[in-house]
């Protein structure tokens, strides 16, 4: 693949990846958040496939396709099912709308957008010494991965709905994967498989937890989880 086109496509994939993370902070509808997360999965898969095609490593392309299937297909499907279960249950009480939206995040949307801007700048500042070690187009995009990790953390601490928290956790994981790809041009296949199964398992467990929470409290607001019972 020719160098200029590769760089441009890589940049576009990275830009889309970062934009998706920011949009998760911007919108309130949980269904839309899940769709944006799927879009980010596609961007991440494109990133891996591009790197693989550039270095002509077929295993990396395979990993990319696997990531695409998992993060743009399976995980959004699971989350959509959990969301449908939550809202269908609440429909009877007429509170489905409250349950399917992130109405009251701990930090309001405008402030969290500005925080995301600061986090991106922070990621850029932190990654600069790393990039200077070996400035290629891929390592230069390293701040994107770090910024998504930080934004994922931010979503985790400020959002209240259990599903939004799951998305935050997955954003964090997407960011880590992207950083691994950009910094080391891909981790070995076996490690990536392990991580992917780990994430899948975590989402399944969280889905069950969400369902249990809804049964116990009638809502998925994690503020209700105040104390531990045996």
């Amino acid at each position: 693949m020719n160098g200029g086109l590769y760089t441009q496509l890589l940049d576009l994939a990275c830009g889309l990846f970062l934009l998706a993370a920011v949009l998760v902070l911007w919108v309130r509808e949980l269904a839309v958040i899940v769709r944006i997360f799927a879009l980010q999965g596609i961007a991440l898969a494109a990133l891996a496939v591009l790197l693989g095609a550039h270095e002509q490593r077929w295993d990396l392309i395979g990993v990319g396709i696997g990531i695409g299937l998992l993060r743009a297909g399976v995980l959004p499907y699971l989350m959509r099912r959990a969301l449908a279960a939550i809202t269908a249950d609440r429909q009877r009480y007429g509170t489905a709308v409250a349950e399917s939206r992130e109405t009251q995040p701990l930090v309001n949307v405008a402030a969290s957008l500005l925080t995301a801007a600061l986090l991106t700048l922070l990621a850029y500042a932190v990654a600069r010494p790393l990039t200077e070690l070996n400035p290629t187009p891929a390592t230069r995009a390293l701040p994107v991965g770090l910024a998504v990790v930080l934004i994922g953390f931010f979503v985790l601490v400020t959002r209240r709905r259990a599903l939004a928290q799951v998305v935050g956790f997955l954003l964090l994981d997407n960011g880590i994967t992207a950083t691994a790809f950009l910094a080391t041009s891909g981790v070995p296949l076996i490690v990536e498989l392990g991580v992917s199964f780990d994430v899948l398992l975590a989402v399944l467990v969280l889905q069950i937890l969400t369902t249990r929470m809804r049964e116990a409290f009638g809502t998925t607001d994690i503020d209700d989880l105040r104390e531990l019972h045996d």
Binding site: G3, G4, T7, Q8, D11, L12, C14, G15, L16, L18, L19, V22, W26, N108, V109, A110, A111, L113, L114, A116, A117, T120, L121, Y124, A127, T131, P137, R140, A141, L142, P143, V144
Partner: protein
């Protein structure tokens, strides 16, 4: 070359001044047709202006010079900006002065003049509109600056004609993530600055929601005609700036008559297309609640900031 350059500047001023009411009329017409109405015709804003200009000038009792100077100042700043911004040609006698910061501050000066006029009337609506307009402006100006900075980093200058010339030579700059984010940010900022629908509704006088209309409620006659012309010119100018920055093809970069003629035709075509798209989008959008407006503008500010940072770490084909 000089004659062509001066003609280009004059052409830009005339195109913006004469074209602005036509663009507004065209947008209203598109909107009316989409809503199933016949519409008043493209020339209606000109007819309105003629009717207003024939009336006797009246100013409310107790208003001072800020109120009287504002319409003229609004139109004057817009005319100067129209002369500076490369709408038709990047090779004009004034293109050396067309710095981004000058252009943004001229636009801000017009906004400020109108807000002062709104305060000067001493009515509740004027003050309310002025305060809202300043809230929006405080968020919009940095967004415009930042989103154009994202484009000025690859060009290495904040001179707008130089940015446009660079983009014509290297279209790859615009297809980069920085370019795309900057388009989105600047588009939202332009909508907010010109008081279009997600931020303000230009066609209502509902006291709870209006921003721009609240400031100009006290104007009548020729002053009102000037204020409306100024608002229409700002819309035309900012849409023209948007198209110059992101669809720069066709703008004359050399001093030849043929290129200038082509540029004029293409500018009209771009504005007509952009206006139609905007009017069609407005049919499907609802106005955002006033307290949600800062959220929208913070989002567009973030996009602009991301565009600037992205142009550092995603530096395209190098």
């Amino acid at each position: 070359m000089n004659a062509v350059g001066y003609t280009a500047v004059a052409g830009q001023i005339v195109a913006v001044t004469a074209g602005a009411p036509l663009l507004t009329g065209w947008m209203r017409q598109v909107r009316a047709r989409l809503e199933g109405r016949a519409g008043a015709g493209v020339l209606q804003p000109w007819r309105d202006a003629r009717k207003l200009l024939r009336k006797e000038p009246i100013t409310p009792a107790g208003t001072g010079p800020a109120f009287r100077a504002a319409p003229a100042l609004l139109v004057a700043t817009t005319v100067v900006t129209a002369a500076l911004v490369p709408l038709l040609s990047t090779d004009t006698p004034v293109s050396g002065h067309a710095d981004l910061i000058v252009v943004v501050s001229l636009i801000a000066l017009g906004t400020l003049a109108l807000a002062l006029a709104g305060l000067d009337t001493g009515t509740a609506f004027g003050g309310m509109g002025a305060s809202r307009e300043m809230t929006v402006a405080a968020l919009v100006e940095p967004t415009i600056l930042l989103s154009v900075f994202a484009l000025s980093i690859p060009a290495g200058t904040t001179n707008i004609p130089a940015i446009v010339t660079g983009a014509v030579d290297e279209p790859a700059r615009l297809a980069s993530p920085a370019g795309l984010l900057a388009v989105a940010a600047l588009a939202v900022a332009v909508l907010a600055e010109t008081g279009r629908i997600p931020v303000d509704n230009p066609s209502t006088h509902l006291e709870l929601t209006m921003i721009h209309e609240a400031m100009v409620l006290e104007y009548a006659g020729p002053d009102l005609a000037l204020v409306e012309l100024g608002a229409q010119m700002r819309l035309t100018l900012l849409l023209g700036l948007l198209s110059s920055l992101f669809v720069p093809w066709g703008i004359a970069t050399t001093g030849s008559w043929a290129a200038l003629a082509v540029a004029l035709v293409l500018l009209a075509a771009k504005l007509v297309l952009l206006g139609a798209v905007l009017a069609a989008a407005e049919v499907f959008w609802a106005k955002v609640r006033l307290f949600r407006v800062p959220e929208l503008l913070a989002g567009s500010f973030l996009l602009a900031l991301l565009a600037v940072t992205a142009s550092y770490f995603l530096t395209g084909a190098s």
